[in-house]
Amino acid sequence: MPPILETYQLSRYYGQFRALAETNLALQGGEIVVLAGPNGAGKSTLLLCLSGLLRPTSGRVSVEGFDLYTQEVQAKGRLAFVPDVPRFYTELTAWEHLLFIAQAYRAGAGFEARAEKLLKAFDLWQARDLYPHNYSRGMRLKLGLLMALIRPLRVLLLDEPASALDPEGVELLKSSLLDLRAGGAAILLSSHNPQIAQELGARRWTMSQGQLEAA
């Protein structure tokens, strides 16, 4: 079976500094991979390049065979990224952010029921009409996660998703990731917590000085 997420000679330099060495990786559907490594190892750079937020110095990223740069609409429609510190529009409430994302991804059908279910599951239902700048860091992270889950996806990238979550939030995150895996999605997340890979039954990749090992 062809991989869902694939890179070819992907690299990123900041001037002379190599943040990400030429990387070839492949993720299959129904697979979870935990990206580990010390601070500054290049995990976030890799995730940013994979998500299209940071243009790589060289190489390609393809999502279900669609190139992230030449077939960006098709690729982006299948790819979701949750940063470690999600940012939001100041003027839109949490509910409106979910609606905006659902509509932008043409996933408006049954939105209200899905949004209610997700918000209740992640304990944000009571805070749905609040502006996200009034949220705590953990609540913002949850909203960032819900904005990925409200739309269809084939690949989910997460940067330190458990860093600001309470224990219940971490359990919810894990069960959501397992559900997505069961649905055939490929998931790549960075984490400093070695337990999370075990608990998710995930493969573990390590990064060091911009080099991906055990890929």
Binding site: L48, S51, G52, L53, L54, R55, Y69, E72, V73, Q74, K76, G77, L79, A80, F81, P83, P86, R87, F88, Y89, T90, E91, L92, T93, W95, E96, L99, F100, Q103, A104, Y105, R106, G108, A127, D129, L130, Y131, H133, N134, M147
Partner: protein, 542 residues
């Protein structure tokens, strides 16, 4: 030195250093040349301020003359009285709603959490705020004093009269500074009443509002507020304020006025001493940290952050869902932009677009092409700035905007289409307005054909300028560039291409309607090129 004054003096010194850096003086550099530069800068700014205030004095004199009072100093006294009353009541109204003592985040942790003397905090913070208020209001007093001196000299001023002007300005400044100090202390004491932990006074702001209303009715009821202050009950009632101000303009004994000003300061200080004893600093910090952060951001020139903080304050906690429905695909971007505009408030929206309309109307009404060209350039720059707002906001949320599965060109159009449509509509209104005024200066209704292409092009030119310097890392940190010189150059080129081609073709005998249609085609071609360029730039952000 107590802990409060230690912290406050460091803060004030730091503020002073900041402004010295702004004028080019580095306080860490102990060299002789820096000391000379400081003297030079002080003399330069003193002369500059003196020159500016002198320049304004003739305007002030012509402003005061039509009030038909017995003399310019009498009118100046009346005007100063009204100014201080309005300022004092406005400040008291705000102090009744929000703490007059404003604390930064650092203060909230370092000062407000500690059991320091509340009185010391109140006076230390007053010492930081009073000089600025006194300088601003005192500057008006100095201008009025100069106007009074102007009137006394009957316009025959020579350089030898400079000391006379300086003395008049100094007398006025000193009395106003003392009165302002007293009034501000009273206002702060009033605000402290609400911050005391032992009682709730949520409607305290009603008192200055009611007093303001009574004063407005009383003073303006007779037709002229200035006349009311020269004789009658109001003049007697407000004598404690009028007397020191009048002494500053030479109408009363100056030493007496100075004593009255000192009495104001003493009464204010006493009131603050009594009221500040039990204020809840934590509550004051909760009410003001965002405001201080916003002011600090604006003072440092970080206007986006200041705008963001002001918006957060305005929006409050939450909002019920939007009434208008979201559309799928790129329509979601349009929906989001409309929602953002609605939430930002009518005033910021209407003031920006009203200015664009008025400049557009000016361009229609100005009879010569030289003046009209300048007006059009200003109009184009304003439209370009407004049109770039949505794109800048989207780019500042790069992590949210970039992954959207919307083609780059459509996303750009979604961000510039609404401002372009609005600019077009207002241009049409300006042309209609010009025609109705009967002074269209050769601009006919056919010119309306040029507006859509121009407006869209200005928005896309702005997008090109914003995107050409965009870098992923800056965008991920929330920093999107503002449209600048390139946007202005594109606006100028687009305006010139479109209008010159229409005018040139009309001059060659082509019917005006067809010539304008050709101009529209030229601008649409340019728009297409700009859209392609901006789309590529958006896709290739490094």
């Amino acid at each position: 030195m107590g802990p409060v004054w230690l912290v406050r003096s460091r803060q004030l010194a730091s503020n002073l250093r900041y402004w010295l850096v702004v004028v080019g003086y580095d306080s860490r550099d102990r060299s002789f040349s820096q000391k000379i530069y400081l003297v030079y800068a002080a003399v330069f700014f003193a002369l500059w301020i003196f020159a500016m205030l002198s320049f304004l004095s003739s305007t002030a004199r012509s402003f005061l003359a039509p009030f038909h009072l017995s003399s310019i100093p009498v009118a100046a006294t009346g005007l100063s009285t009204i100014m201080l009353l309005v300022w004092g009541l406005y400040a008291a109204y705000h102090a009744g709603k929000r703490s007059p003592l404003a604390f930064s985040e650092d203060d909230a942790y370092l000062i407000c959490q500690t059991p320091v003397s509340r009185r010391a905090v109140a006076f230390a913070w007053l010492a930081g705020s009073w000089p600025l208020q006194a300088a601003l209001l005192g500057a008006v007093g100095v201008v009025l004093a100069f106007a009074s001196t102007d009137a006394a000299l009957a316009g025959k001023t020579t350089l030898a009269d400079s000391p006379r002007y300086l003395l008049a300005g100094f007398r006025s400044l000193l009395t106003i500074a003392l009165v302002v100090g007293g009034m501000q202390s009273l206002v702060w004491a009033f605000g402290c009443l609400r911050l005391r932990g032992d009682r709730e006074l949520p409607r305290l702001w009603l008192a200055p509002a009611a007093l303001g209303l009574i004063l407005a009715v009383g003073l303006f009821g007779s037709g002229s507020a200035l006349q009311s202050l020269t004789s009658g009950a109001w003049a007697i009632l407000l004598q404690p304020l009028i007397f020191p101000l009048a002494s500053g303009y030479g109408l009363e004994n100056w030493l007496g006025g100075l004593l009255a000003g000192a009495a104001w300061a003493a009464v204010g200080a006493g009131a603050l001493w009594l009221a500040a004893d039990r204020i809840n600093l934590g509550r004051a910090a909760q009410e003001t940290t965002r405001q201080v952060a916003r002011l600090n951001a604006a003072a440092a020139g970080i206007f986006d952050a200041a705008d963001q903080l002001a918006l957060q304050q305005k929006l409050g906690i939450g909002h019920s869902p939007a009434l208008f429905a979201a559309r799928p695909g790129w329509g979601a971007l349009l929906w989001k932009n409309l929602l953002r505009t609605e939430r930002r408030g009518a005033w910021s929206f209407f003031s920006a677009w009203l200015l664009i309309f008025l400049v557009g109307l000016g361009a229609v009404l100005i009879p010569d092409w030289g003046g009209r060209g300048w007006a059009l350039l200003v109009w184009g720059t304003l439209v370009a700035q407004q049109s770039g707002q949505y794109l800048r906001a989207d780019l500042a949320l790069w992590g949210l905007f970039r992954p959207l599965p919307i083609p780059a060109r459509l996303a750009l159009l979604a961000d510039v289409a609404v401002p372009a449509a609005l600019a077009t509509l207002l241009a049409w209104l300006a042309i209609l307005g010009g025609a109705a005024a009967g002074a269209a200066g050769g601009v006919t209704a056919w010119a309306a054909l040029l507006a859509p292409g121009l407006a869209l092009g200005l928005g896309l030119g702005s997008a090109v300028d914003i995107l050409r310097t965009a870098k992923s890392q800056a965008l991920l940190a929330g920093n999107a560039a503002t449209p600048g010189g390139v946007s202005l150059a594109i606006a100028a080129a687009l305006l010139a291409m479109t209008i010159v081609s229409a005018v040139w073709l009309a001059g060659k005998g082509l019917p005006l309607g067809l010539a304008c249609l050709a101009g529209l085609l030229v601008s649409l071609l340019a728009d297409w090129g700009l859209l392609e360029l901006a789309g590529e730039l958006l896709k290739r952000v490094e």
